[in-house]
């Protein structure tokens, strides 16, 4: 699936920031270059900006190529982490729809200027069914994934969060990460690693670092697309579930119980 959305909401004072977006998938190994960007104040750009280094990705990727004279760029998003892949080019690999704030800073002709853009990008991939906006957490009856996120046998659970979001999460949901009740439950039910002698569950910040060339279960599962944060991955080696973290400890245990 390839889907591209691009909205520009704010553009100050000149047309120095232009965003061109491309997407590629591993299946086709091709890259589509978007040659039109809507800009406030300009209906369309008439110049075509081609991306010379076409990415060949193992999963859908969106490249943001930012045309700007600004010497400093800063990209920020609550749900993804754009990675710089070239001069003024940033890759977004996390599946889902993301709002990205782009800030350009610089001096032109002796005058300090800054520009802001808010860009919404949608990266293809395995995206769960849309959630009810009145109830953003999944009911504890998810569909069975025929392709388990972790192939190794035994119950494994990964929870992913953004540490900066901890203060704004609900107390009940935050408790999932820290309560000894859930930790005891996971210790009682998850498989014991022969190598590390540790129960196979982890709680990771979405920006966690891994060793170079890491090929562990956890490195691989962290590579899988996530539509939102916080996120949970459950697998017993035959079936599994990937989706938003439930709202509290009870729902989390109920959900995991289905894959024991």
């Amino acid at each position: 699936m390839k889907t591209i959305l691009l909205f520009l909401f704010l553009f100050l004072p000149q047309d120095q920031l232009k965003v061109i977006q491309t997407e590629s998938t591993a299946q086709s190994s091709t890259t589509t270059t978007v040659t039109e960007s809507l800009l406030i104040g300009q209906h369309k750009t008439d110049e075509v900006v081609s991306i010379k280094t076409s990415p060949v990705a193992s999963k859908p990727v969106v490249i943001l190529a930012i045309n700007t004279q600004a010497p400093k760029l800063r990209l920020k998003s609550k749900t993804c982490k754009p990675v710089q892949v070239g001069s003024n080019e940033y890759a977004v690999t996390e599946a889902g729809t993301h709002t990205i704030d782009i800030l350009g800073l610089g001096v032109i002709d002796g005058e300090l200027f800054f520009e802001e853009l808010e860009v919404i990008v949608k990266v293809g991939g395995v995206i769960p069914d849309p959630v009810d906006p009145d109830d953003p957490y999944p009911p504890p009856t998810p569909p069975i994934d025929p392709d388990p996120p972790i192939k190794d046998p035994g119950l494994r659970v990964l929870m992913v969060y953004e540490s900066q979001d901890l203060p704004i999460m609900s107390a009940d949901q935050k408790l999932i990460f820290f309560s000894t009740r859930l930790r005891d439950y996971l210790n009682d039910n998850c498989v014991l690693s022969d190598v590390t002698k540790t129960r196979e569950w982890r709680i990771f910040d979405q920006d966690i670092e891994f060793p170079i060339n890491c090929d562990s279960v956890w490195c691989n599962v962290m590579e899988r697309p996530r539509a939102s944060i916080p996120w949970i991955v459950i697998s017993n080696g035959m079936t599994g579930f990937e989706g938003p973290l439930p709202r509290n400890v009870e729902d989390t245990i109920t959900l995991i119980n289905q894959y024991k």
Binding site: S163, R183, D205, I208
Partner: protein, 271 residues
């Protein structure tokens, strides 16, 4: 064992106690703010550089009480994350004034427990020996945390506890240490700032979000890792004076003595 409380009345008798028949070691010395201003280390952040939202003071006690009720404090996680499901044993710095490496290493071990990474006892002596070329010298927590962010701290299989021997300073040791690194983005809190209430709020916000905060105490000449905010504006610390100190190495500090001379926080560790 009842919890050890250090307060404005009794603090003097707790500065350098004798434990297991031995006078304990400390080792904090004032940070060189001229050469190492706050957040000047690569990979560190000041509070202003990130988005952790301050928790209002009037919510602290309620949140702490709730964490106690649900057993979701860092100290609770410590109690179930050690070898074979037991608690994480205290570290033991005694012999050298390397508290400033032990406090940060303790924080790394706690964050590994939060993430349920395999328990491994780490060897802070390696960090201090490398920083000061095997000399027994005092320093402050952020200095060792910067080193641990870049190089990690080896486990005791590669650098035996409290060893000052150069024979362990080899490639395999530091390859091992890489898996026990603090992640980028650790917080270097500016306790020199004009607004002491703001600094206190930053520290408590970290603790209520289960982020361990290294405290360098001038009154104690000692650096320890702080795990919990305790109802009534107390701080539960984990010391590096073995499990014989306080309650399994822990104590609660209250009153004016909670204010550190320096503070930094480990937000994440590498997997």
């Amino acid at each position: 064992m009842p919890e050890l409380i250090i307060n404005d009345e009794n603090w003097l008798q707790h500065v350098a106690p004798v434990i297991n028949g031995q006078q304990v070691s400390r080792g904090f010395s004032m940070r060189d703010y001229y050469n190492f201003p706050p957040a000047s280390f690569d990979g560190s952040q000041s509070w202003d550089d990130h988005d952790l939202e301050l928790i209002p003071r009037d919510a602290w006690d309620d949140l702490a009480a709730d964490m106690e009720r649900t057993k979701s404090r860092l100290s609770d996680i410590r109690m179930q994350s050690g070898p074979n499901g037991s608690y994480i044993p205290s570290l033991d710095q005694n012999g050298q004034g390397f508290c400033w490496a032990y406090s940060t290493t303790g924080a790394v071990m706690l964050m590994r427990a939060v993430q349920n990474l395999p328990y491994k006892r780490l060897s802070p002596h390696a960090v201090a020996c490398k920083i000061y070329n095997f000399q027994d010298r005092g320093a402050w927590g952020a200095l060792s945390l910067d080193f641990i962010r870049k190089n990690g701290v080896p486990d005791v299989d590669y650098w035996p506890e409290k060893s000052m021997s150069r024979q362990y300073d080899k490639t395999e040791t530091w390859d091992n240490a890489k898996q026990y690194r603090a992640a980028e983005g650790w917080l270097d809190l500016d306790v020199e700032a004009y607004d002491a209430n703001m600094i206190e709020a930053q520290i408590v916000t970290c603790l209520l979000n289960r982020i361990p905060v290294i405290h360098d105490f001038a009154w104690w000449s000692h650096s320890v890792v702080c795990m919990d905010y305790v109802v009534g504006n107390g701080r539960r610390i984990l010391n590096s004076w073995t499990d014989s100190y306080g309650d399994k190495g822990m104590a609660v500090i209250t009153g004016s003595k909670i204010k550190p001379m320096g503070a930094c926080a480990v937000r994440s560790v590498v997997a």
